[in-house]
């Protein structure tokens, strides 16, 4: 059974079809990139996979459970338990330190544990910046805090929306290296991006165009 199975989903806003009959599967431990230009439906796809939105039509099976008909409350619980989110704009709480930002995720999931949060920061190379506020961190450092926050509750899927969109090349490489490490450890990664360089390091790339799945590219040269 696939970890994520999307069956013929459409998302319709009035006369606009943001997603049009899209189907795809993601296996456990797989690293998949979803690519496409602006307006192709990437963000809608990300919101549906991330349990922040529901499709107008079709089914989304996450770990065998159809989440397309779940209530908002249940979607919140599923998101909390199964999904780790990484954002282009990092979205750190600006008045909390790096370690506190990681602990917020623990707070909503189970029980805050500062030691574990520090270990997560150490894993992304930020142990020494743990007590800094986001405003005292560089963009790359903020993104790494965001990654640590996404990983802290051991989610089934890490869903990254344009994770390198606001980073310079050096920080982009650091983030991609972290993704490689996560993949080696068996984490399922879905990376939404419009950057071909980020997409081509994934095992598989799904290209969206005008809300439809235009093509699927398997990276034959994939290396962990």
């Amino acid at each position: 059974m696939s970890l994520l199975e999307i069956k013929n989903i459409s998302k319709i806003y009035g006369e606009l079809k943001a997603l049009d009959d899209v189907s795809l599967k993601v296996e456990k431990g797989e690293w998949v990139a979803i690519m496409g230009p602006s307006g192709s439906g990437k963000s809608t796809m990300m919101n549906i996979i991330g349990c922040m939105d529901k499709p107008s039509l079709g089914q989304v099976l996450l770990d065998g459970v159809d989440i397309s008909k779940e209530s908002n409350k249940n979607l919140t619980n599923i998101r909390r338990d199964k999904i780790g989110l990484i954002f282009q704009q990092f979205h750190l709480v600006n008045y909390l330190t790096a370690v506190e930002n990681v602990m917020v995720s623990q707070y909503y999931h189970s029980m805050p544990d500062e030691k574990e949060a520090m270990e997560a920061l150490a894993r992304v190379g930020l142990a020494e910046r743990a007590k800094h506020l986001p405003s005292q961190l560089s963009g790359g450092e903020q993104q790494r805090v965001c990654i640590a926050r996404a990983l802290i509750n051991y989610p089934e899927i890490v869903l990254a929306d344009e994770p390198t969109g606001n980073l310079d090349e050096a920080n982009e490489n650091i983030v991609i290296d972290i993704f490689r490490q996560l993949h080696r450890e068996g984490t399922t990664l879905i990376v939404v991006t419009h950057d071909p360089e980020v997409a081509e390091v994934a095992q598989r790339t799904l290209v969206l165009e005008h809300g439809r799945l235009a093509k699927e590219i398997v990276n034959e040269n994939f290396k962990d």
């Binding site: 963000s43 991330g50 704009q89 707070y107 029980m111």
Partner: protein, 414 residues
């Protein structure tokens, strides 16, 4: 780490590290709490302060003989035992006799000068209050009739029967124009005159005028001497006709004192000077209503200000709310966090309000009443609780709005 600890860590961080916006809300709450605490302190202290001010207008209770038993200094002192010493501003016993000065009938009032001074602080004495034996205070009108001034010597005669009868007639005529107090005194005097219907004639007693009394009232027709001089003059001591009490208390408290005095002393008939007690009650009631109204308006304004600020805070933190929801926060978690911030703010603002409110009340008291105010410990919990409640109410709508945030919309990448 326990969840509660993280909860407090988050809400305190929100207040401390986002100080600019929160400072506005805190300031609004602190100002509201200051006014609340200050005005409530004044509200409870005004009766005491105003009571003290009203005491400048003279006695508010009369003790008169009931006709049952002797009415003398011991009786009055016994009655005074009922009154809380802290509330007793002054007590002046009076004995009235008809005397003659330069063959003119005059009412002589014997009293305890210190007591009269305390009970009637509005009396203006040109010269000095009698301090030694044979010193007399002469009413301004009478002094003009007699042609005396400070330092003059007068001879006071007591006891001529025919003249005494004339005095009674004149005095009764005067009494018709006076209020109940003087009427009662006159009636009492008439009874006493009958009792002491003696025809023995005494020689006069020399007195020195120590001062001229201005009151704007009937007292300006009297002379005032000490009780001991009256005893020497009349050859009899002890008996009193009335006692004027100035008590710092509300009308209800005065009534309670009067009832207690009546119950304990059958010889005493206490009466409230209604024109004083009623106007005091009226002024206090209106003043307290004004304080209550101002406090209510200020709290309402505080609530509006806090609600507006919290609205702005919620709007400003929509992305953070969306993020929290994306991380799995339930609506109740979001409500708890924002309410927690609001209530903590209310508590801190309330505490600041207690401190500044007391300083405010003290300043008002010193400037208006010229006396300090005591801190009432009950103000502390009341102010903090009201501040927290007002802030909580003010936060309800903004916090409700916070739960409407859609994470998918506010966290959009582009």
């Amino acid at each position: 780490m326990k969840k509660q600890k993280m909860f407090f860590r988050m809400i305190t961080a929100a207040l401390i590290r986002q100080h600019s916006r929160m400072l506005v809300a805190l300031l609004a709450i602190a100002v509201g709490a200051t006014i609340l605490s200050g005005l409530v302190t004044i509200y409870y202290d005004v009766p005491r302060q105003m009571g003290a001010q009203f005491r400048n207008y003279g006695a508010n209770m009369l003790l008169l003989p009931s006709g049952e038993g002797e009415f003398n200094e011991a009786t009055v002192n016994n009655a005074l035992g009922v009154v809380n010493k802290e509330n007793l501003v002054g007590a002046a016993p009076y004995r009235y006799e008809s005397v003659f000065i330069n063959e003119q009938p005059v009412i002589a009032a014997a009293t305890n000068m210190d007591g009269a001074k305390a009970a009637s602080p509005y009396w203006l004495v040109n010269g000095n209050w009698p301090a030694a034996e044979n010193e007399v205070l002469v009413g301004k009108s009478l002094a003009a009739v007699l042609g005396v001034k400070e330092g003059s010597s007068i001879n006071v005669v007591y006891g001529e029967e025919s003249r005494a009868a004339k005095t009674e007639a004149d005095a009764e005529k005067t009494a018709e124009k006076k209020d109940i107090k003087e009427k009662d005194i006159k009636e009492n005097k008439a009874e006493k005159s009958n009792e002491t219907d003696v025809s023995e004639e005494k020689e006069g007693m020399p007195f020195t005028v120590s001062g001229i009394l201005e009151t704007g009232g009937s007292e300006e027709d009297y002379i005032f001497i000490s009780l001991s001089d009256m005893a020497v003059l009349t050859g009899k001591g002890g008996r009193l006709d009335a006692a004027e009490l100035s008590i710092s208390a509300s009308q209800d408290e005065l009534k309670a004192y009067a009832d207690k005095i009546s119950a304990q002393n059958s010889a005493v008939s206490p009466r409230l000077v209604k024109r004083v007690t009623q106007s005091e009650t009226t002024v206090l009631t209106k003043l307290q209503a004004l304080v209550f109204l101002v406090t209510a308006v200020v709290l309402l304004l505080t609530m509006i200000c806090v609600a507006t600020t919290m609205m702005a805070v919620v709007a400003e933190r929509r992305k953070e709310i969306g993020l929290r929801k994306a991380l799995g926060a339930s609506d109740s978690s979001i409500i708890a966090e924002f309410m927690g911030e609001g209530l903590l703010l209310g508590g801190v603002g309330g505490l600041l309000g207690v401190i500044f409110g007391f300083a405010f009340a003290q300043a008002v008291s010193m400037n208006v009443f010229n006396s300090s105010i005591n801190f009432r410990p009950l103000i502390l919990p009341v102010t903090v609780i009201v501040s927290v409640l007002v802030t909580g109410l003010a936060c309800l709508l903004p916090v409700r709005n916070a739960t409407d945030v859609d994470p998918a919309l506010v966290l959009k990448g582009e």
